[in-house]
Symmetry: D2
Subunit: 464 residues, 4 copies
Amino acid sequence: MCGIFGIENHPEASGFTYLGLYALQHRGQESSGMVSWDGDNMRVERGMGLVADVFRPATLERLAGQSAIGHTRYSTAGASAFLNAQPIVVNTANGPLAVVHNGNLTNARGLRRKLEKEGSIFQTSSDTEVILHLMARNPREDVVESLLEALRVVEGAYSLLLLTSQGLVAARDPNGFRPLALGTLGDAFCVASETCAFDLLGAEMIGQLDPGEVVVARDGAVRRYQMGKAAQPSRCAFEHVYFARPDSQVYEDSVAQVRTQMGQVLAQEQPTDADIVVPVPDSGLCPALGYSRASGLPFELGMTRNHYVGRTFIQPQQSIRDFGVRVKLNPDRRLIAGKRVILVDDSIVRGTTSRKIVRMVREAGAAEVHLRISSPPTRWPCHYGINTPRKEELIASQHDVEGIRAFIEADSLGYLSVEGLLGCLSGAPESYCTACWTGQYRVASEAQDDRQKVLFPIHSEERV
Amino acid sequence: MCGIFGIENHPEASGFTYLGLYALQHRGQESSGMVSWDGDNMRVERGMGLVADVFRPATLERLAGQSAIGHTRYSTAGASAFLNAQPIVVNTANGPLAVVHNGNLTNARGLRRKLEKEGSIFQTSSDTEVILHLMARNPREDVVESLLEALRVVEGAYSLLLLTSQGLVAARDPNGFRPLALGTLGDAFCVASETCAFDLLGAEMIGQLDPGEVVVARDGAVRRYQMGKAAQPSRCAFEHVYFARPDSQVYEDSVAQVRTQMGQVLAQEQPTDADIVVPVPDSGLCPALGYSRASGLPFELGMTRNHYVGRTFIQPQQSIRDFGVRVKLNPDRRLIAGKRVILVDDSIVRGTTSRKIVRMVREAGAAEVHLRISSPPTRWPCHYGINTPRKEELIASQHDVEGIRAFIEADSLGYLSVEGLLGCLSGAPESYCTACWTGQYRVASEAQDDRQKVLFPIHSEERV
Amino acid sequence: MCGIFGIENHPEASGFTYLGLYALQHRGQESSGMVSWDGDNMRVERGMGLVADVFRPATLERLAGQSAIGHTRYSTAGASAFLNAQPIVVNTANGPLAVVHNGNLTNARGLRRKLEKEGSIFQTSSDTEVILHLMARNPREDVVESLLEALRVVEGAYSLLLLTSQGLVAARDPNGFRPLALGTLGDAFCVASETCAFDLLGAEMIGQLDPGEVVVARDGAVRRYQMGKAAQPSRCAFEHVYFARPDSQVYEDSVAQVRTQMGQVLAQEQPTDADIVVPVPDSGLCPALGYSRASGLPFELGMTRNHYVGRTFIQPQQSIRDFGVRVKLNPDRRLIAGKRVILVDDSIVRGTTSRKIVRMVREAGAAEVHLRISSPPTRWPCHYGINTPRKEELIASQHDVEGIRAFIEADSLGYLSVEGLLGCLSGAPESYCTACWTGQYRVASEAQDDRQKVLFPIHSEERV
Amino acid sequence: MCGIFGIENHPEASGFTYLGLYALQHRGQESSGMVSWDGDNMRVERGMGLVADVFRPATLERLAGQSAIGHTRYSTAGASAFLNAQPIVVNTANGPLAVVHNGNLTNARGLRRKLEKEGSIFQTSSDTEVILHLMARNPREDVVESLLEALRVVEGAYSLLLLTSQGLVAARDPNGFRPLALGTLGDAFCVASETCAFDLLGAEMIGQLDPGEVVVARDGAVRRYQMGKAAQPSRCAFEHVYFARPDSQVYEDSVAQVRTQMGQVLAQEQPTDADIVVPVPDSGLCPALGYSRASGLPFELGMTRNHYVGRTFIQPQQSIRDFGVRVKLNPDRRLIAGKRVILVDDSIVRGTTSRKIVRMVREAGAAEVHLRISSPPTRWPCHYGINTPRKEELIASQHDVEGIRAFIEADSLGYLSVEGLLGCLSGAPESYCTACWTGQYRVASEAQDDRQKVLFPIHSEERV
């Protein structure tokens, strides 16, 4: 997962892109980057770490110009991290091109092999770079035509932004897997993964890009194109479950409202006798509140999250039981002891974290621990941009609900149904992708297991 | 404010002190430090920034030994920041001495002047160092006697830890202004500002140190001393209002329960007609929940906090209204629009932030904004360790409640009463310090306005 | 100018490449880089600064494998510095390729434009990358054939090393503009810009690569190829004047001996009445010694060089006359005062530095200052890899010797003649390039004035 | 050894101190520091590494004021390096005091123990700090009186600078062990270890401070005091042999001239049959030139020094014979092979480096290697500020000249005599300290073997 933001025709393009990325920080903390265009030059800055660490006042000053696009990247493994930090910026016969991308191209590997055989040299191991090479191979006077040509052969999930000498281009794949919202701010246009970025800037949302739509902003005016390829809308519903910020609007709905509603439906589908409803913070807050409302059981802030926990935590040598989770989450014995607790969380992946949480809550004195999950069992890996583990590591692909319950040592376990979940969303049920719960993949993927990044046998760690 | 932690007789003393500081990070984010003792050497590490930034695996390995003490420091202004990072470690004729301190000595300036006239040379501009010089001037075979001698002339607020060649020493001032809890972990003793540090380590709380108590831990055994000076217990009640983590026990009470109770009493004292109760996160969460329960009005998570906001945020040049607050807090229009909103926060200092929040909520469409504060008006500066501004900057010392309401542009404003607040705590009402609300200072301060750190005309920024 | 080094079939390939670069540090101080190959992976490290700053023990350990090539780069202007640090490492359909290059391709711009029109995307603004793209476009089973094919269309000056999955490849252009020496070290082969790198490692020199020769080292065996293109040998004579280390053998001659000989011929060609001969250290040392011997005048170390002066020197605001030179060179009043001084330096570029030196020596009390230059007047820019300014900035292209003398304020000025200089070298006079003195360029250049690096409108400064 | 510099009454005091330290960099490369005084505040900057690394333009701007003192420190072992970087700056009842020191106090350990027993707390393990504590214990209205009082009990070698609110104070011990020169620059006074610092600034030397002299510069005027303690002048002659820069005047003599003269006397005292005279660069350059002149044998630059070698050189794992020396010095086979070589160096300490050099020269083909040393055998450790090893590690304290010759494997070895050396200096022979050659220590030392820095059992590594 990643967050992307762009702005065109604004005197403080880099400063506002910085703010936009700040608001999208929850979508990726591994690396950040930005490129600006001042009519003559593109200027790039990329770095490992949070937006606040990568950009300094002097950096933003250097990134001159009236348009800019930026990127925050989710943690991925391996030494290739910096090499793959976005934006990717290249020079072509038609001038410089920069791209940021949220999603995953499902036929990138094959396209890359073909391009390499024809003599193309890739800079990164990222699937995103394929688009640039396709564009470089088919230069047109109008860069949008070159892009449309390239997107004709590309498959999979992409919400992407291009910075070119002909304007800022935004594109969303024909299935519309990932969100991408368009907004205005005075004379400027802006584009963002989520609307919370608009709120921070004081921008107004115009709406989401349609699936298959390409938008070009230049000098404060916008042209909109529709790709020829028709496809069934397949919007990621997991954005609403977990990924998006609660104060964003994603597709047509308020995330916070959808999540609270999911908790209410969950209470109806999976009721149980208990004393209190406790959220696993932060993503369990809204559904737990909904569960409490629908069930009439009191809502208690019985777990505290340490928001200072970063990526570089040092484990003590001496084993502390459930330590990795405990440093982030602490149950409050004084609120929990002796109570029958309904814990509400958004999802279960491998099951190991859930087991640790259940154990911690029990050790804090809970009489019973009932886990309720505000989404269906996650049984299939995502091929469209969410970094899930392989199928065999997903506990719900290996066990039924009772098996999972036994593994996580809860007194009971209940999931929200697919129908229940889709009923909380405004769109037609068939307009959402539910592949991670149902296995119904709407776009085939060339490589289900192995990871694209292994392809590239050069490991680079640069030092400036 | 600061957080302190120490552990004695543990094979991973530095690793566990790191964890303890991690859990106390909310008490100070400016600098962190630790000193360990291995029977022969003291080893020190101090740095600007978060615990996770200052300590690396190699650092913790270097900090060898079975005992250690550490410190996290709240943000203070000025170039002297690093110079004053704790622990302070010195060498005396009786061996090395290290100290960490939470609190404020009210007669440090006079004592320092006297010591300097006698030829003592101070390393820092911190009040804490006075204690070390007093001890160096009165060396005794038993380091505790030397400490007791020093504390006889020292006045004010201190919860402090000393690391010496004779053991780890913890002391709490006779008024017991600041908390300090004692715990056990297997064969080790540990001491912490708050019990959430014990929870993380799996340590058991024994209890708070008594006011005026000195505890010495050596080789896993503990001796307890009581200072001769009697004084009225004056425990800081603001720890419960704002400073402590909700999952800590402070003095005799659960912080989360006290805060929720404060919200309930606040609803009784300051009711109003409205549609929803919205907390200002994170410290308003518990009292808003209490207010919702007592009033029967629905609790809504109508504001989202961006937890990635650090200290180095870059302001855009172009003015964005209420920008500084907006980057941290975003009201959710979809939950708030058209509603009469009761906002619950813990306190008002200067009033400027509250005004920005009220404005933002109104711009997000709230029909009415009623602000409720879960503590009495803050009218007096703290002399006992909390970093409040001067009296004249406190809005409640300049205006009555109606004047404040007008300034912050709320439709109504209500504070919790002092009696109401004290009624939420288990201890006798007179055992708490209420000086910041009532002006009843129980220990006189030599210098009410000017800051001790200005005393020292050397500004140092070292680079290694 | 740059220094390049490579080694094949050595268990400590990266460690020995580090040493080789260390010995070649005088050929470039701006950036350093290295790539290693372990049979499966290429690993790269590049950084700004000296070899000793860029490489750490952990870096060398990471750069595993039995073969490696490295590069030190001379200071160039602009933000593109890091982007262009070598080695350049790319992935092609035939596997990874890495290259380091000393020289300058005279038709790179045209080749690049052509390749870009065909869809190639360049990573750097360096001329060197053209070779890799040409190879990627013409993959052959034998990488050497692919290289020979590429070199067929490339023109200009290049001594280059390629690291490939098929071995280490060294190539020297048909004119042999820049030196490149081949050596053995036990079972390993090594290649270096200068033989002083061999001395440090204890390697034995086999000889220089012939102009137009390509050598492939694989598993400790060597194959040698000759390009079809015949060309007149055009070895850079300026290597002997200034660039090479005095303890190197370049082409067929000892640099120190050639330089001393130049001083002797200079004394014969440009005698004058004086008291002492003083070198401008360090490059004037050898020719001054030669001048002293031939003239019989005493050699005095009358100027001291501060070897700690780096690139980041801070200028005082208050003007100090001739400050920039003075911090590097200090004349010794006690040796110079009252004397008629013959100053010996290797060359004059713009004349401003020489004027400052003449003034300083005069201020130190010299009765007369006679400047003698151990090379002919530099009138033409180099197109073959030495970073000279534009023609109009070269003082000798604007003034005759008397005009230069007047500008630098010397009492007399004398240059070595081209014939005199060539007479000091063992090779046939026509086998050396003298273009910077005579304007006789043997390979035409597409772009005499503007700089290739301006071509690329992306400025990148990455932060890891 | 260290270099110190100070300036008073100059608008760019910190900038000029930076330059002064730059010129004194050869006296210490481990750490650098500076303190400035603007009439109200002292501002300090210290850091590990070269002057050019520690100070940035922003640093110098921060170090405001019309007076400043600075320090460059020679490499010492251990973790205490940064702790002991100078200046030491403290606050006393009489205001702030800063000190930089070149030398070694021979009774510091006893004084420190006494002060600690009286309650003083030391910040560093440096002998220098004792002076500040003595001054703090005896405050006088006139800081010079306080200093004179302190110096009454201090013994040993010191050239020191104090920055105080009453002016810049310079003091030289009664024996005058270490140099200290006074100069003027317009309305400013400056003080430096060596006059090469004056040359860079364009300052005029007034002369050396007399032994036992104290000079106070304030507002551009100077007062001079003489300590009561009389002592025999004992100026360090090793400054002329090795430590000082050749272009400095030390005491009454030009260093370059003295060194050349030493080479001439050496040639007379220790003649031999040979073909060429080769200096070991850089310190052997002048004496080799002198030897060549007196002997009539040709001077050859037969060894090249790599000036890029820093402190962090990485040794290869595979053993290279004589590697540590070879990376710094490379003999030139083409100049040496077949020749009978007289190598000239300034001194022999342990003999291991000399042996490596002799071997390298022989491997480069020398027919014979005759080593000539331009000082007498170093038999005794220095107690007055030069960092020599213990007596038993000095090869000349364990072996006679023939034994040393055998160890270093030279064909012959000859040293300059004490009388010969003193004859090259202008001062009376008895006015120089010759303790390292003769064992005639003129001031007793409390601790001949163990090192003061071991005294302090706190190891500190701070991170900002």
